[in-house]
């Protein structure tokens, strides 16, 4: 039982990272019906950037904000916030630039043209990651204390570490902020209108291009944040990370019902748990196959996802 709960905690933490990336997929798909293949690689570049900012020069970073294990808490928080801001802003800019250069010119082209473009962009970004980070996995030391936070409560069989709490502390406010932005602000309403019908939204005075650009900016910011969380929680990055991680996140978005924000988060948590359970109880060798199996099964049997609406016609 303890073991199961432990596995679920690990799955939950990873699921929250998947959620940040999955939201990027679902936002973009919701608004322009494009599977943004390159989004996983934007996340990968975010983690690369976080890596070079955080890692000390001795392990290949730039050491600008070299965060080390013994840093006092207030300084740690400030440093992490600065790196978080840098990652989010850079990845937003990158995603905005990709949309402007690669996708916008194909706005009215057949559906598969932007999809193929996205694959091309994905390869470009992957190679940028290869140039930045090299061909091998880059790891950093954990900056958080590894004590069990539950120990003071007398629970010793289940371990909850500070890094897991950190994941929740970073991701949950972002998810809430996104939900507020899309649901409550004027710009969010413009996004929802554009998602429903770009032409009509344009006639009603919504600047469609700007709205789409903002969607990409938000997706990039979430991916950048996810990149930092990946480095601080899982402590590694590699240039192929985006492909695998991106497919997991995309599966999460589809599982929840693509285009649906709450669905993406729910799907991501489920995918995180499936990953953790499969890693623990089946074999890490099969995890990827199981995730793909879930993806195929969802698309075949319930293309609308857990929370989505009727998508089958379009899919």
């Amino acid at each position: 039982m303890d073991q199961i709960i432990q596995t679920l905690i690990i799955g939950l933490a990873n699921g929250l990272i998947y959620a940040l990336v999955a939201l990027g997929y679902t936002l973009v798909y919701g608004i322009i019906e494009l599977i943004n293949f390159a989004h996983g690689d934007v996340f990968m570049l975010g983690s690369m950037l976080a890596y070079v900012l955080i890692a000390p020069p001795s392990s290949g970073g730039w050491g600008i904000f070299s965060i080390e294990a013994g840093t006092p808490l207030p300084q740690l928080i400030v440093q992490i916030l600065i790196v978080l801001a840098i990652c989010m802003v850079s990845m937003s800019t990158l995603n905005w630039f990709i949309e402007r250069v690669a996708y916008r010119p194909l706005r009215h082209a057949p559906k598969l043209a932007p999809l193929i473009t996205a694959i091309g962009v994905s390869f470009i970004l992957q190679n940028v990651g290869l140039i930045l980070g090299g061909a091998y996995q880059r790891t950093v030391d954990s900056v958080f204390p590894t004590d069990n936070l539950l120990a003071p409560l007398g629970i010793t069989n289940i371990v909850l570490t500070a890094s897991q709490v950190f994941v929740a502390v970073v991701t949950i406010p972002l998810l809430v902020a996104l939900s507020w932005f899309v649901g409550k602000t004027r710009q969010g309403r413009a996004m929802r209108a554009t998602a429903q019908d770009p032409d009509t939204a344009g006639l009603m005075g919504v600047d469609v291009n700007r709205t789409i650009a903002i969607t990409f900016v938000i997706g990039g910011a979430l991916a950048g944040a996810a990149g930092l969380v990946q480095i601080l929680y899982n402590n590694y990055t590699v240039y192929t990370l985006g492909f695998r991680f991106g497919l997991n996140s995309f599966t999460a978005a589809v599982l929840g019902g693509i285009g649906n924000l709450q669905g993406a988060v729910l799907g991501a948590l489920v995918i995180g748990e499936i990953n953790a359970i499969s890693d623990r109880y089946i074999s890490p060798n099969w995890t990827q196959a199981i995730v793909f199996g879930v993806l195929i099964a969802v698309l075949v049997f319930k293309p609308t996802g857990l929370l989505g609406q009727q998508l089958a016609d379009r899919a």
Binding site: K111, L112, I119
Partner: protein, 462 residues
């Protein structure tokens, strides 16, 4: 079939003329004058003869000589063999993506299955289970494992791979466009994973009275893969040449490519090919006209896959070994780029794309890297970043020339002669092609449902 035979009659030089005249025999405004047709026939005949002579000339005269004399490196036997392997695959993917308009991002799965079929049926691997079967081929009677000759292996590979194609296609082909791309992508990732992981299979369960108990069976050789695999069996030629080294493998590959071209062209011109075209242009309309869309798409999928099966079997026999590492996502993309580069929907485009891209990937880039390495070793090595180049190529192609370098003339003609684009313009659907700097017909080369993409739907919500 009938169109192909008719075409053979029109060309002056029976067989080579066939190729020239098929290219020249498109309807409408593309019907070239007699002289132009003749010139094209001569040119193509020269091209075909040159291609046929080149491998043997290369192996006799040019090997080891070309590198320092000619401005560009010449492809060697291995590269040429891989050109044929990838040509078979790109012609096959062209059936799926070009003719029927289904984007398959997991094409490598079928390639892998084909290779493993060859590995199972022409290697000592199954000897470990006490299964020994020797039939024809190089291997003498009494050898360990299953040893079937290449031609039987190729046929089995076609059947097995087409079956897998149908099995994957049956539930997924009602999905359209991008979802299908993702499902096939998943399949393309799972299949090599299975080949990698099924190296210590332990199953134990009771099925009614039947007790199935398998423990620690090495089905696929795991990470090491399976080797040695028998070379392609060519009854008489084998006495003279080794089927693996030298030009013989290239000729075998060319033979397979020729079959692939003939099959693909005949499919394109058949009733089925017209049905594919109809589905590609507008699935709903095709269905209204009585095309059984699911069955038609399934056939495209299975037939296209079977090409990859042959390619995989040939590759495994040629290399004499197979491991799951050969088969990753990048191969699917490489083949897709070949199809797009050449001109999606056009058999000759797919062939040209494969030849060009394999040349660039396996001869030109390593050569350039070597040259750069000689001059300035600190500069980045282009061969390592080949996919950066292909990524840029994909983006640029989609932006400026989505119809490829050798676009399907039939489709271009179809579109402009019957005036789909004109009709759209008259009906006020201007602006659909606004942002694309090239001729409108190219737009449809890439899209499965470019026209139905406009249909409003209620489902999007955030």
């Amino acid at each position: 079939m009938s169109s192909a035979t008719k075409v053979i009659g029109t060309g002056p030089g029976a067989w080579f003329g066939f190729i020239g005249s098929t290219l020249a025999s498109y309807p409408g405004r593309y019907r070239a004058s007699y002289h132009r047709r003749r010139r094209r026939t001569i040119l193509l005949t020269l091209l075909v003869v040159g291609t046929l002579i080149y491998p043997i000339v290369h192996s006799v005269l040019l090997a080891g000589f070309s590198r320092n004399v000619l401005p560009l490196p010449l492809p060697d036997d291995t590269v040429m063999t891989f050109m044929t392997i990838f040509a078979i695959m790109s012609i096959g993917l062209n059936i799926v993506a070009g003719f029927a308009g289904l984007l398959d991002l997991g094409y490598v799965a079928f390639y892998a299955i084909g290779a493993y079929v060859a590995a199972f049926l022409a290697s000592p691997h199954f000897g470990q289970f006490g299964i020994n079967l020797v039939f024809l081929g190089h291997v003498g009677p009494g050898a360990v494992g299953i040893h079937l000759p290449f031609w039987i292996v190729a046929i089995v590979a076609i059947i097995v791979v087409a079956t897998f194609g149908a099995l994957l296609g049956a539930p997924t082909l009602r999905l359209r466009g991008d979802y299908l791309a993702i499902v096939t992508l998943g399949f393309g990732e799972i299949v090599p994973l299975f080949f990698k992981n099924l190296s210590s299979l332990t199953i134990s369960f009771a099925l009614g009275p039947l007790l199935i108990n398998v423990s620690n069976v090495n089905l696929t050789g795991g990470v090491q893969g399976i080797n040695p695999i028998d070379p392609p069996f060519l009854p008489i030629l084998d006495v003279l040449f080794d089927a693996r080294s030298g030009p013989l493998a290239v000729y075998l590959g060319m033979f397979l490519v020729t079959i692939a071209i003939v099959v693909a062209r005949n499919l394109d011109l058949s009733r089925m090919g017209r049905a594919w075209g109809a589905i590609r242009e507008d699935e709903t309309a095709a269905e209204m006209m009585g095309v059984n869309t699911v069955r038609t798409k399934l056939l495209a999928f299975a037939l296209g896959a079977s090409f990859a099966g042959v390619a995989g079997a040939f590759q495994a026999s040629y290399l004499g070994a197979t491991t799951s590492d050969f088969f990753d996502f990048s191969i699917s993309i490489l083949v897709l780029i070949m199809v797009i580069l050449g001109g999606i929907g056009n058999v000759w485009g797919a062939l040209a794309g494969a030849v060009m891209l394999v040349y660039v990937d396996k001869t030109l880039l390593p050569y350039v890297s070597q040259r750069i390495g000689d001059v300035a070793p600190t500069l980045p090595n282009p061969a390592q970043y080949n996919f950066l180049i292909y990524g840029v190529l994909l983006v640029v192609m989609m932006r400026f020339r989505p119809q490829g370098f050798l676009p399907s003339r039939q489709r271009e003609a179809e579109l402009s002669v019957h005036g789909l684009a004109d009709a759209d313009a008259q009906m006020g659907v201007v602006g659909e092609f606004d942002n694309v700097g090239v001729a409108p017909p190219g737009q449809d080369e890439t899209g499965a449902d470019s026209r139905s993409a406009e249909t409003p739907d209620e489902s999007r919500h955030l």
